[in-house]
């Protein structure tokens, strides 16, 4: 019998929590069977919902003593099956640790528990004209603990950075219940940069119970320009030209024809439909600087061959321009029963080549693709359309997606820009990293969690898995035994 089902363990676990904070009946645990990547499901054996740091540490110590694995979950909005339950593991849900403990407007920091929603921080800071910069599109629901675990980005990364650039300090606990105070209230801390190491570590190293985030002054003004192009390559070149002109836009987004059409049908943002690509370029900052930058952006876009340029002249119009982009995923979701969202990053100069290859593969695999692109920082989100009810289509979409990620690595990019590896991209890690590099990753984990109890099987592939994947890979992407689940 696995340790998690032993009466001794369960009794001890029960003694730590209120009855409603421990779920074991399948009808109660099933809602936790997947995160935001619903194609991967596994009903957890045990779900715990602690409401204090003391409970978290007691749970970790107990699991360590019984050698029971722990999968940590925040709001469950992750897109890489990072919080997918693992057989024999406790699912540790931190959503109830949701207190904003302190906002210090003069020092521009907020101390928050991991279950606090990303947007809730900015809402609470708004009274001081401050905000928390990283804004993943799930910001209304996703929690800061998960943002740290995934090093989440958003549309404003190029100018304002990722989560790693916007946090100062963590309280985290090792699986054996030792407190790690990482970072400081100053701008650096002595020793190795464990704050960077923890950020994006996907719940593999320690469990976070408190985050100190930086807050920024809200920009005086933000303005957005929309430009249409008759060729995606021209739109891609325009992105580089804006940056070469010395402007760092707050947001710089691109959509291709299919994504534009879908967004327009869905929210009627007024996008031009007779084009191959549109760019949305937002600049923010001091009033005078925004005026200058808008002028520059306008000139560069015209010189780069834009067929149409519109500048939002009111806040209402700015929000309307963005509405189409922000609704792009659900809009594309209306085109097919299912879609599969990829997350590769590429050097921007490779964009025309990569888009061309994606459209070739789209024909090869018989699945349509809509492209939404954080153009400023090279983060590509191809949305592969498929129908999971058609036999083999999910598998076909996954294989196609895997190929796109390998293409990203081939052109000097990465398999994941902001969603994380989780379980979803674990095979593609073998394409990006060599055996010695993967070995170092395992050793980093072992430095924190020698028994491998935190989120086992995620983020870093076992070496034998890469060997098997390499062998399978030679056969033109056709996995043997496709009917078997891949995890």
């Amino acid at each position: 019998m696995s340790a998690i089902r032993s009466p001794v363990f369960l009794k001890a676990l029960r003694s730590l929590l209120l009855p409603e904070s421990l779920l074991t009946a399948p009808e109660d645990t099933r809602p936790f069977e997947s995160d935001g990547l619903a194609a991967y499901r596994n009903t957890p054996d045990v779900v715990v919902l602690p409401d204090s740091e003391a409970q978290v540490t007691a749970i970790l110590r107990l699991c360590h003593a019984h050698q029971v694995a722990v999968v940590t979950r925040g709001a469950g909005t992750g897109l890489a099956a990072g919080a997918l339950p693992v057989d024999g593991a406790v699912l540790l849900v931190l959503a109830r640790l949701n207190q904003i403990k302190n906002i210090d407007p003069l020092a521009r920091t907020a101390v928050v528990q991991p279950g606090v929603r990303n947007l809730a921080i900015s809402e609470a800071a708004a009274a001081y004209n401050l905000y928390y910069a990283p804004d993943p599109s799930s910001q209304i629901a996703c929690s800061i603990g998960g943002n740290v675990a995934e090093n989440s980005g958003g549309v404003h990364c190029l100018k304002y950075g990722l989560t790693v650039h916007n946090i100062l300090k963590l309280r985290a606990w090792t699986i054996d219940g030792q407190l790690l105070e990482i970072g400081s209230d100053a701008l650096d801390a002595p020793g190795y940069d464990l704050l960077a190491l923890m950020t994006g570590s996907e719940g593999m190293l320690a469990v976070i119970t408190e985050v100190t985030v930086k807050l920024l002054p809200r920009p005086e003004r933000a303005q957005v320009v929309l430009a249409a192009f008759d060729d995606v390559a021209k739109a891609g070149a325009a992105v580089g030209n804006i940056i070469a002109a010395g402007v760092i836009p707050a947001g710089l987004e691109m959509m291709d024809r299919l994504a534009i059409q879908a967004a327009e049908d869905f929210v009627h943002a007024g996008y031009p439909l007779d084009c191959e690509a549109i760019l949305l370029c937002e600049v923010d900052g001091v009033n005078e600087e925004v005026s200058d930058d808008i002028f520059t952006v306008h000139e560069v876009l015209a010189a780069s061959g834009a067929t149409e340029i519109r500048t939002a002249d009111s806040e209402e119009q700015r929000l309307k321009f963005w509405a189409g982009r922000k609704a792009a995923f659900p809009a594309v979701g209306r085109l097919a029963p299912d879609y599969y969202c990829m997350d590769g990053t590429i050097p921007r100069a490779q964009l025309p080549h990569v888009l061309k290859r994606i459209s070739e593969m789209s024909i090869e695999y018989g699945l349509a693709v809509a492209n939404v692109f954080h153009a400023g920082d090279g983060n590509l989100h191809p949305l592969i359309l498929f129908d999971a009810n058609q036999p083999g289509e999910l598998h076909q979409a996954e294989t196609f997606g895997g190929k796109i990620l390998e293409l990203c690595v081939e052109v000097g990019g990465t398999i994941t820009g902001e969603h994380g590896v989780g379980l979803e991209k674990i095979n593609q890690m073998c394409a990006q990293f060599s055996t010695p590099e993967l070995t170092r990753f395992h050793e980093v984990k072992a430095a924190f969690d020698p028994d491998g109890l935190l989120n086992p099987g995620k983020a870093v592939p076992e070496l034998h898995r890469c060997a098997e994947w390499g062998a399978m890979h030679i056969q033109g992407g056709q996995l043997p035994y496709p009917e078997l689940p891949r995890f």
Binding site: D104, D188, G191, T414, H419
Partner: protein
């Protein structure tokens, strides 16, 4: 050349020879004294790739910072963390290994914030690559940023990819006569407003504030803030960055006076630890020339959420950095053991026992 270095590291690993990694030798004073054969990175001195439109530069670790900054300047770009040169010979690898940043740091980010990827050789002579040349990358643990500030104890950095930024179109520095307490409040208040701040400093009753950005933005902010415009301001900030002002020279004259760097929460009120003080980073760094005890200074910094570093002494240093809590020290030892199992790289430079 890389192969020669790898062969040397493998030999050192085989026969337990301690090595001291050295680029330009401009920061030999920094950290604890260490002993070993010099492993020079000067042969690794070329810019591998620079795409101004991508905002990414990749260079070998022994490339002089001055060369990199000159190349960036041709394209009106810069290293936004404004790394110190300390005498001029500083290299990229040394800057990243030391993890030191200059006056722009609180407003633009630190050395580690701009690192996108590294190539390195670990203590067994294995060449490894982490991160990459793209701005967003969350595949695998962030080992490239772990190398920043590790003072070479986890491996030899051979190549670094950095995000670079456009240089500001305009820059001006304003000065205000203010006492210490008022200056600290001002620096923090202004940082909470949408102003184009790029550096702050307070010393001897004078607050200096640098504004950088579009001409229009700088002029608007100047009109709002007032103060006296400083002539030759870029020399002022460069002297502060490289510690060549007379303040930092005062130290050698008296044997017991040492230069301490107290990193604290930026809103920390005046520390009252003596008059020989220079504040920068919006209040988050307090440089002290002091003969007070290590314990006194470390306790003061810790009381305000930070830490104290013995930055320059007059004799070999054996306790430069604030000691780590036991759980963190264990993690440090574990990581060192994995990356450099025989402890051949810069032994003791960061902490005495590894």
């Amino acid at each position: 050349m890389l192969n020669t270095l790898i062969a040397r590291i493998r030999a050192a690993h085989a026969d337990n020879t301690p090595l001291i990694i050295q680029g330009g030798g401009s920061k030999t004073f920094y950290g604890n004294a260490d002993e070993g054969e010099i492993l020079a990175t000067r042969t690794l001195n070329s810019v591998v790739d620079y795409q101004p439109k991508e905002l990414v530069l990749t260079a070998q670790s022994g490339t002089p910072l001055a060369d990199i900054e000159a190349l960036l300047a041709e394209h009106k770009q810069m290293l936004a963390f404004e790394p110190p040169h300390f005498g001029g010979a500083a290299t990229l690898g040394g800057s990243i290994a030391a993890g030191l940043s200059g006056p722009r740091r609180p407003y633009a980010g630190s050395a580690r914030d701009f690192v996108l990827g590294v190539r390195m050789v670990d203590g067994t002579g294995q060449a490894l690559r982490f991160g990459g040349q793209v701005i967003k990358n969350v595949a695998g643990y962030d080992v490239s940023r772990l190398m920043v500030g590790a003072l070479g104890t986890l491996g030899l950095i051979t190549e670094v990819s950095l995000k670079v930024l456009p240089s500001p179109g305009a820059e001006t520095t304003l000065q205000f006569e203010l006492d210490e307490a008022a200056a600290i409040v001002k620096m923090n208040t202004w940082a909470g407003q949408p102003l184009p701040l790029s550096a702050t400093s307070w010393h001897a009753g004078l607050l200096s504030v640098r504004l950088s950005g579009a001409h229009s933005a700088v002029h608007a902010a100047q009109a709002k803030l007032g103060g006296e415009t400083v002539n030759d301001a870029s020399a002022f900030w460069q002297r502060l960055r490289d510690q060549t002002t007379p303040f930092f020279d005062k130290r050698p004259s008296t044997w017991n006076q040492r230069l301490w760097r107290l990193a604290v929460k930026p809103t920390t009120p005046p520390l009252k630890l003596g008059d020989a003080q220079w504040i920068e980073w919006g209040g988050a760094v307090r440089w002290l020339i002091s003969d007070l005890s290590e314990t006194t200074l470390r306790e003061a910094a810790q009381r305000y959420g930070g830490h104290a570093t013995l930055f320059r002494g007059n004799a070999p240093i054996d306790g430069a950095f604030t000691p780590l809590a036991p759980a963190l020290l264990t993690l440090h030892r574990n990581l060192k053991q994995r990356f450099d199992p025989k402890g051949i790289f810069n032994h003791g430079r960061l902490y005495p026992d590894f």
